[in-house]
């Protein structure tokens, strides 16, 4: 079984928003919903960096843990999906999510939240028919053997999607080639001891 993951290489992202557009187009998401967003830090400064964020399909997903209706489930591929028939729009998943992924269309009075919408890793969601699935959750590219459109269309291949091991291998190789002293996960206190560069060299 695969463990599907997204990874955005912040050193490659050029803030073109292609992923945002590709996602909207592939999934026909409701008006006002943008499953993927691009965040730029220190825009215009020397330390500028951009990163594309959506649902990261966490292993220990906080949204799943706090949902009062238990509407989330994890597929065999490690993709976090939710059932819109069970969602009540309480917003708890949004409070808990580290990435601001859950969004709610505002269709009723008093700012009441509609049914939550988030990135599905282009894997659709629970529905009776294909049409219903597309209507509710958007494309199911995984069922067609394809990866999420955002990553597939990323012009600089900053956004990677796929099995965690493959994604990590690609990124590790990039890191080795860039020659960082302490690997890419600079915040990781293990980075220097793990010696990612050595690992990558051994793997070829």
């Amino acid at each position: 079984m695969a463990q599907m993951k997204f990874m955005c290489d912040a050193e490659r992202c050029i803030e073109c928003n292609g992923c945002v557009t590709a996602c909207k187009n592939a999934n026909e998401v409701p008006w006002g919903i943008q499953r993927r967003r691009v965040v730029t830090l220190n825009d215009g400064e020397a330390s500028e960096m951009s990163i594309s964020v959506a649902c990261m399909h966490c292993d220990d997903a906080p949204c799943m843990a706090v949902c009062p209706t238990d509407c989330f489930h994890k597929t065999d591929d490690g993709i976090v999906l939710h059932d819109k028939d069970l969602c009540i729009g309480c917003g708890y998943c949004l409070y808990a999510c580290p990435f601001g992924a859950p969004q709610f269309p505002q269709t009723s009075a008093f700012g009441e939240r509609g049914k939550m919408d988030k990135c599905t890793f282009c894997a659709g969601g629970p529905a009776e028919s294909k049409e219903e699935e597309y209507e509710k959750y958007g494309a199911n590219r995984i069922a067609e053997g394809k990866l999420p459109l955002c990553a597939e269309m990323c012009s600089t291949k900053a956004l990677l999607a796929g099995d965690a091991q493959d994604v990590a291998d690609i990124f590790r190789q990039r890191v080795v080639q860039r020659g960082h002293k302490d690997g890419a996960w600079s915040n990781n206190p293990q980075a220097s001891t793990d010696n990612l560069a050595y690992d990558a060299a051994q793997k070829g």
């Binding site: 912040a10 050193e11 490659r12 050029i14 967003r37 220190n42 825009d43 729009g89 080639q177 960082h180």
Partner: protein
């Protein structure tokens, strides 16, 4: 392909020459495969470093990830989502999750369960507090129709809010497995809708009720005595009490403080269209849950004392009248004030059936 098909028949005679040819062919194929793989490897490894160096942005430093982690956004922070007021990483989300799931949820259940168990135990051991003297048959108006209507409306809303709230916190552990998704989906959606729409009504009525009862609930010194003696709930001790006794006043002030806090935090959660941040709503949620669970636990005590626990208490809030004996035993100071306003049972019954409004003009209406 031609080579393979053309030479295939040659391998049929099992001569030494045929075998040698087979081996050579195997080696050739293996070599081609190995070389092509090696070249591919070299191609990947060699072509990329230059490209990687030219395409990659300047190195992202640990400071930048630290900035992300801290949640600070700065003036040059950009987000492509049109309505977003979020930072890149919601670092307080995990804290909220742990407070809610590890502390509030289990300890809320323990608080309510323990209170219910203690009350049951108290009832089994001590039992109902009966009137010590026989009833005199003369009644005093304690609660006006307006107050009773207000009390029962607030009480009904309170129970409905408590049950729907408990369902939102604990329902998924019980009813989803019990009834299946179809019923559960309906149940939880109704819970949320009722909770969100009844909440504000409850809040407004609670404020009205608190305002109209504040005069009777101003703490006095004898209330402290009342609380120290446990209200004389056990045994035959008598403690002084005015219109409201120490326990009632304590309940009043719990509602006036924690209750209003629950209402206020509920408003923050109920109307997410005022651009309040995720962090604000996380805190509002924790305050709301802790306060509401606490009040629900305490309300069990109020409900017990008002129904099963005290003889004559429930009829005060249903009929509005209490017996003279009840007033003397439970609210002696109040009884001293109103003892000249007693009316015989028969007169009250007659008034009720003739439909005129109850009570002599001097009885309190608030």
């Amino acid at each position: 392909m031609n080579l393979l098909t053309a030479q295939a028949p040659a391998a049929v005679p099992r001569s030494g020459k045929g075998l040698a040819l087979g081996i050579w062919r195997f080696i050739a194929v293996a070599l081609v495969l190995a070389l092509s793989l090696a070249f591919a490897q070299v191609a990947v490894a060699q072509a990329d470093p230059d490209r990687e160096m030219t395409t990659a942005a300047p190195g992202i430093t640990a400071d930048q990830w630290r900035q992300v982690r801290s949640g600070e956004t700065g003036p040059n922070y950009r987000d492509s989502r049109h309505d977003s007021n979020y930072n890149l990483i919601n670092s307080s989300g995990e804290t909220w999750r742990h407070i809610r799931n590890r502390w509030v949820s289990p300890f809320g259940l323990i608080a309510i369960g323990a209170t219910a168990a203690l009350i049951t135990l108290f009832y089994l051991i001590v039992g109902r507090k009966d009137l010590e003297a026989p009833r005199t048959g003369r009644l005093i108006l304690r609660w006006s129709l307006m107050m009773r209507a207000l009390h029962w409306t607030v009480a009904t809303l309170f129970l409905a809010l408590a049950l729907t709230g408990l369902n939102l916190l604990f329902g998924k552990f019980v009813f989803r497995t019990l009834f299946g998704d179809a019923v559960w989906a309906w149940m939880i959606a109704a819970s949320k809708l009722l909770h969100n729409y009844m909440g504000p009504i409850f809040g407004v009525l609670l404020v009205i009720m608190l305002v109209s009862l504040i005069k009777e609930n101003i703490p006095k010194w004898h209330d402290w005595e009342w609380i120290k003696k446990g209200g004389g709930m056990i045994g035959k001790k008598h403690v002084d009490a005015g219109f409201a006794n120490g326990g009632e006043k304590a309940w009043y002030w719990i509602l006036a403080s924690v209750g209003l806090l629950v209402v206020a935090s509920g408003f923050v959660l109920d109307f997410p269209n005022f651009d309040q941040s995720r962090d604000t709503m996380q805190w509002a949620n924790v305050i709301h849950a802790v306060g509401a669970l606490g009040i629900t636990a305490i309300s069990l005590g109020h409900i017990y004392i008002g129904t099963l626990g005290t003889e004559g208490a429930l009829e005060a809030m249903t009929t509005g009248y209490v017996d003279e004996t009840w007033a003397k035993e439970h609210h002696n100071l109040w009884y001293e004030e109103v003892k000249d306003q007693t009316i015989p049972e028969e007169e009250v019954a007659a008034r009720k059936s003739s439909g005129t409004s109850a009570g002599p003009s001097a009885t309190r209406t608030s």
